[in-house]
């Protein structure tokens, strides 16, 4: 590979090959956290918002920085810090039953809101509540507003209950953008809105989205050059966070695409934390977010068995670009932002989610569906058993079910998950031998 750098991780004293795209993304993230934690010194205003319905291009129009609490919770989960934060939040009166992203965030606040670079996060100047596809978002920002006392602007994105975006929904979102969000962002930032600036950012977004979709669709190759779930969460990183609409994101996806092209040419499988995957034995579609607290251990359970995720729904939570061809459109900027928000994965109704999964199973020639059911995420989890059942009936392909959590380590039981996965892989083998349908694990 031409664009690789060898670095050494001190903890493991083990050489890890990093592709140029990985280094690029790492630098982008570090730079963003640096800016966020120096926002006051740099004279920059900060908007906190969510991954689904993330209006990064709009936020950039006001020279504001974008801070995403879910991403901070994930960072703390992967660094094994979220468990303590969650327990702290529970001691403060937050229920054990609710979203662990929220509790990790609240617990982190109690510890001084420390960013991954070890410096304190600033108090946001604006909580931009993009209420898209998740009820908890509404409560989360009410809770943050209660703590921070800062201004909150709500963007209510209607749920597409009938599986379609109606004119009424689109008009409602556009009207909120025009009459609520943009005036608020202007006031908070002191910067006047320039729609041509937004168009330019959206043009950049669409370029990056084209390359992202190319990367995701590369998994149709056999062997798949990517893992579209564990690897996929890195690939969606820039486009789901503070970089959509930036030249950095365009460059990242060009680099990534180049690397994947080389892997396809060399008939290589995905990169894993332990190097390139050997034989591809199982091709899976995965529904639901990953577990973050034991992310590597979880991934290892797959790649050790030669299992590759060729498509996943979680990588559509911050925007669906592959299924029905949505791209941000500079010619219709506000309408396009509205359609983006309305089309995020968990804002689509259950029948549409089933249709998407069914199409992934077919298009990517997958062996079956695996559901990772997240204890504290009802937006994803409620209805997953129905999704499984319907998919099995429609496709005859086996579906299986495991349970973990987002960032609460108490709900990751490695032995149980591994046992389930092994049973599932056996079921796929059995089905291959029998040539018929198999029942759920």
């Amino acid at each position: 590979m031409s664009n690789q750098t060898q670095i050494t991780t001190p903890a493991a004293s083990q050489e890890v090959i990093k592709d140029a795209s990985m280094l690029k993304q790492k630098a982008m993230i570090a730079d963003n956290y640096d800016k966020l934690t120096r926002a006051k010194e740099l004279g920059l205003k900060v908007a906190s918002t969510y991954v689904p319905g993330n209006l990064n291009e709009l936020i950039m129009c006001f020279d504001m920085l974008n801070n995403l609490p879910e991403i901070n919770a994930i960072q703390n989960g992967m660094r094994k810090k979220s468990g303590g934060m969650i327990m702290d939040a529970e001691k403060m009166g937050h229920s054990e039953d609710v979203c662990t992203y929220v509790k990790a965030d609240i617990g982190n606040m109690a510890k001084g809101s420390i960013a991954p670079n070890g410096k304190p996060m600033p108090v946001p100047d604006l909580l931009l509540l993009s209420y898209t596809g998740c009820f908890t978002f509404l409560k989360w920002f009410e809770l943050l507003r209660d703590q921070y006392g800062c201004e909150t602007a709500m963007l209510h994105v209607p749920y597409t209950g009938d599986g379609i975006i109606t004119d009424n929904m689109r008009d409602y979102v556009v009207k909120q953008l025009k009459e609520v969000l943009i005036p608020t962002l202007e006031r908070v930032s002191g910067v006047k809105f320039d729609i041509d600036r937004l168009r330019e950012y959206l043009r950049q977004s669409a370029k990056a989205e084209d390359d992202l979709v190319w990367v995701l669709k590369s998994a149709k190759n056999t062997p798949s050059p990517i893992d579209a779930y564990f690897g996929g969460v890195f690939y969606i990183g820039p486009i789901f966070t503070a970089f959509r609409g930036t030249p950095d994101a365009v460059e990242y996806y060009q680099l990534l695409r180049g690397e994947i092209e080389q892997r396809i040419a060399a008939r290589m499988g995905p990169v894993t934390p332990d190097g390139d995957l050997g034989e591809e034995k199982y091709r899976l579609v995965v529904e639901g977010p990953p577990n973050w607290t034991s992310f590597r251990e979880f991934w290892k359970m797959f790649y050790e068995e030669g299992a590759v995720v060729v498509a996943s729904t979680y990588t559509k939570v911050g925007g669906v670009y592959d299924y029905d061809g949505f791209r941000h459109d500079p010619d219709n900027p506000l309408e396009s932002l509205a359609e983006y928000c309305l089309g995020c994965y968990t804002n689509r109704n259950l029948p549409t989610r089933v249709d998407m999964i069914e199409q992934y199973l077919e298009d990517y020639q997958a062996d079956g569906l695996l559901v990772n059911s997240i204890k504290s995420c009802n937006s994803f989890s409620a209805g997953q058993l129905m999704i499984m059942r319907t998919i099995e009936e429609r496709t005859g392909k086996p579906a299986a079910f495991i349970e973990t959590d987002l960032v609460d380590p108490r709900y990751f039981s490695p032995a149980n998950v591994k046992n389930r996965l092994e049973s599932y892989f056996q079921m796929i083998e059995q089905k291959r031998r029998a040539g018929g349908s198999a029942r759920a694990a």
């Binding site: 929220v102 009410e142 909150t152 009424n168 909120q176 204890k375 129905m386």
Partner: protein, 396 residues
């Protein structure tokens, strides 16, 4: 089942009748209503709020589907949900797959939480030929933005119902229905006010059953039932106990078992306000009965609807204000947060509401339940201790 007859005016008869309706998991009253006249239709709805006026104006019966309670054995429903999801969707599925809802011509799933939202999708997958709609409401409360959106949503709902009945919902019919529901809400408020003033007469479990009757009866019958109850309860001579006065908060979706309501009362707490079945009093003032009825309903929602965890509070300083106001208006001495297990809205809201109460030195406790909770002793002990604490150490 016998429908309500006007000469049954004794309190026990009224309460027994409501209890019969409550216990009937086959919704016989609604089935009988439908069977009584060809061409009638029944539209089910879940908590928290739907504009029943529109269903009524379509000549249909709105039927509140509030889960299966503690008398329904859930067998099939558990196969649809993981253990960490609340009980109401699984018991609702159970009602459906056991054909207890097979007479229902449509189902509405209001904007309450992600679980109810996704249940709307399950319904579409299970019953593709039955009308079902996720009923969204605005979280922007300005007339030009949220109002315009909501009016169109109401129109789409009306068009959906017209598709079932084949009859156009006229403005005149809708205004007549609004008038009937205005009257119904006045009576609901009268019942709540009587309970507030004389909670030893209007016992909470009776009031609860009376409100539940409104989920299955035509609005006209429910209004008559409340009129009769109000007359009957005033005539009752019941002993006044040295109970404390509490508000129950957080039970707006999955309902507590009736024994839980009784247990709170038996533990020494008069419930002087609650958020059970908010649909009965979601709109807090009269809706005009002239002009454009859709716009009037939208205006009512935006400007004088109730408050609950599924509704956004735009201003920080207003968070919890409705509860503090209710404590003062109802002269409550404390608040019991009673939320269903795994209820995202209620449980996420609770820290903010309890913080608001703490700032006002209003005592509060919290516990969780499921609609089929059977063991009431811990709840009775907790509520009893709370009552004792208020009586012993509260302000005189």
């Amino acid at each position: 089942m016998d429908t309500w007859v006007k000469d049954m005016r004794k309190l026990n008869d009224i309460v027994d009748y409501c209890q019969t309706l409550y216990d009937d998991l086959n919704f016989t009253a609604a089935r009988d209503w439908k069977a009584a006249k060809p061409g009638r239709h029944v539209i089910g709805y879940m908590p928290t709020y739907v504009p029943r006026e529109i269903i009524h104006a379509a000549g249909m019966l709105p039927l509140g589907v509030l889960g299966g309670g503690d008398n329904l054995e859930v067998i099939h429903g558990d196969a649809y949900y993981q253990s960490y999801i609340c009980r109401i969707p699984r018991s609702t599925i159970e009602l459906a797959v056991t054909k207890r809802l097979n007479f229902v011509d449509g189902m509405l799933f209001p904007s309450t939480c992600d679980v109810i939202r996704n249940l709307s999708g399950i319904w579409k997958l299970l019953y593709p030929d039955v009308y079902s709609r996720y009923f969204d409401v605005p979280q922007n409360f300005t007339s030009a933005v949220g109002g315009t959106y909501y009016v169109q949503e109401l129109r789409e709902l009306a068009e959906g119902l017209e598709g079932i009945s084949g009859t156009k919902i006229t403005d005149e019919a809708l205004n007549r229905s609004i008038d009937l529901y205005n009257k119904n809400r006045r009576l609901v408020n009268d019942v709540y006010n009587v309970r507030q003033v004389t909670p030893w007469k209007a016992l909470s479990w009776e009031v609860y059953l009376l409100m539940r009757a409104g989920m299955v009866l035509p609005v006209e019958e429910h209004s008559q039932l409340m009129t009769d109850y109000l007359a009957a309860v005033q005539a009752e001579d019941r002993p006044k106990r040295d109970n404390c006065r509490v508000i129950v908060q957080g039970s707006f979706c999955e309902q507590p078992p009736l024994n839980l309501v009784k247990s709170i009362e038996l533990a020494g707490c008069y419930i002087v306000d609650d958020d059970y079945m908010l649909v009965n009093r979601w709109l807090q003032d009269e809706v005009p009965t002239d002009g454009n009825p859709m716009e009037n309903l939208a205006d009512a929602f935006l400007n004088y609807s109730g408050e609950t965890a599924c509704k956004y509070v735009p201003e920080r300083e207003d968070k919890g204000k409705f509860l503090i106001d209710a404590v003062r208006e109802r002269r409550a001495e404390g608040v019991i947060f009673a939320a269903p297990s795994f209820c995202d809205p209620a449980l996420l809201d609770r820290p903010m509401l309890s913080g608001a109460l703490a700032r006002e030195n209003i005592p509060h406790i919290s516990f969780k339940y499921a609609e089929n909770s059977g063991q009431m002793q811990p709840i009775r002990e907790q509520a009893g201790t709370f009552a004792d604490t208020i009586k012993l150490w509260g302000e005189a």
